[in-house]
């Protein structure tokens, strides 16, 4: 099964402010403010390196953080987060990529 490939918003599209335990994100395109906690800022950072699917993203993240041992579980969680972030407009699905 080919997984969807996601692309981060360009860096100039988001203003990010660290507020203790959470990050505040201002999304310029929509004018919306998002308050996000880990792992969302980490996912957005990893995706900013270039478009990736859930497996690619898991690889980038696992180089920096300790992820769940169960790979399937980690991938499922990542897919869920990516779907949520897409709904918020904070990541985009690459056109043409199958799900």
């Amino acid at each position: 099964m080919a997984d969807a490939i996601y692309r981060a918003e360009p860096p100039e599209a988001l203003v990010r402010m660290g507020l203790g335990a959470i990050d505040a994100l201002y999304h310029r395109r929509s004018g919306a403010t998002h308050l996000v906690a880990a792992p969302v800022p980490q996912i957005l950072e990893a995706l900013a390196e270039g478009p990736a699917d859930a497996a690619g993203l898991r690889q980038r993240l696992s180089a920096r953080f300790e992820l769940a041992d169960d790979e399937a579980e980690a991938l499922a969680a990542l897919r869920d987060r990516l779907t949520e972030l897409e709904a918020l407009g904070l990541v985009r699905r690459e056109p043409g990529a199958a799900r």
Binding site: G20, A21, A24
Partner: protein, 289 residues
């Protein structure tokens, strides 16, 4: 309109027009020490109109409809006896819906030594009462309802309108004050009995002097005395909820608010009575960096 007055409160100017003389006379008396606004020479920021619900209702069981540049369709008409309250509500509404020069926070604020405490909380948290009491005890009252944050500098600008005291808070906050500083007792309003208090002379004389926020307080009246630090993320959420123009101001508001919550310590303060709160605030102030 038949009767009108120009008012300046902090940086904002208003034209209040009324089909009746009474509310304007009351405003004239209570705002006597505020700087004059000559409506023949100056276009005010906002207009508030107190008009009859129907033309003939000016005479027969008069009831007031609040209109103006900005208004709420569902606002219920009010009794003529509550005309002063209608005017104050009308002015608040213009600020809440129309002000764009600052980030508007639904908050009370007081100042000492050029630094301000911003107190924000839901209706009933006691911020008006606390601000009124602090304003008589060595603090400059900057406002009991709105704090106006400059988007560039982060300075808080005063909006020292008449303080609106409700029910039991009236006796507490007006004890020992001269009757000339009090408006009429307005019984039977939607929020119970209301009485307006003219801020202390220094609050009016210095109403164009901003101050840098040094402490964010989230007071809650009722529970036993308790204080806990509020982290920047929670403070950010609370302040966006307390702002009526955060969304309209976009990125500038986001940056201004993020600056405030990362640089200014924030605390939640539960208090059982005003004396306990004031003692706690004085103690917190002495610990403030």
């Amino acid at each position: 309109m038949r009767h009108e007055i120009g008012l300046a409160i902090g940086p904002a100017t208003f034209r209040v027009g009324s089909a009746w003389r009474g509310p304007i006379m009351q405003l004239r008396a209570l705002y006597a020490d505020y700087p004059a606004v000559d409506l023949d020479r100056q276009v005010p920021d906002f207009t508030v109109r107190l008009q009859p619900t129907r033309p003939w209702r000016r005479f027969v069981r008069p009831s007031i409809f609040i209109a103006g540049d900005h208004w709420l369709a569902e606002a219920a008409p009010m009794a003529l006896g509550h005309g002063l309250l209608a005017a104050e509500m009308g002015m608040n509404l213009q600020m809440a819906l129309g002000w764009r020069r600052h980030l508007l926070l639904h908050a009370a604020s007081v100042e000492r030594d050029g630094r301000a405490i911003i107190l924000t909380g839901e209706s009933g948290s006691g911020k008006s009462t606390l601000a009124a009491q602090l304003g008589e005890r060595g603090w400059r009252l900057m406002g009991d309802e709105f704090a106006l944050l400059d988007l560039e500098s982060g300075l808080a600008h005063p909006f020292p309108r008449l303080v609106s005291l409700k029910n039991a808070a009236i006796a507490v906050a007006t004890a020992g004050l001269p009757p000339a500083r009090l408006g009429p007792r307005l019984a039977g309003t939607a929020k119970g009995t209301i009485r307006h208090l003219v801020p202390a002379p220094d609050a009016i004389a210095r109403m164009r002097e901003p101050a840098m926020p040094a402490l964010l307080l989230f007071p809650r009246f009722g529970p036993p005395l308790d204080r806990r630090p509020v982290d920047p993320g929670e403070a950010f959420v609370r302040l966006t909820q307390a702002s009526t123009n955060y969304i309209a101001l976009g990125e500038a508001a986001f940056r201004a608010l993020a600056q405030v919550v990362t640089h200014v310590p924030a605390l939640a303060l539960d208090y059982p009575d005003g004396e306990a709160a004031i003692a706690a605030i004085e103690a917190l102030w002495s610990e403030c960096p």
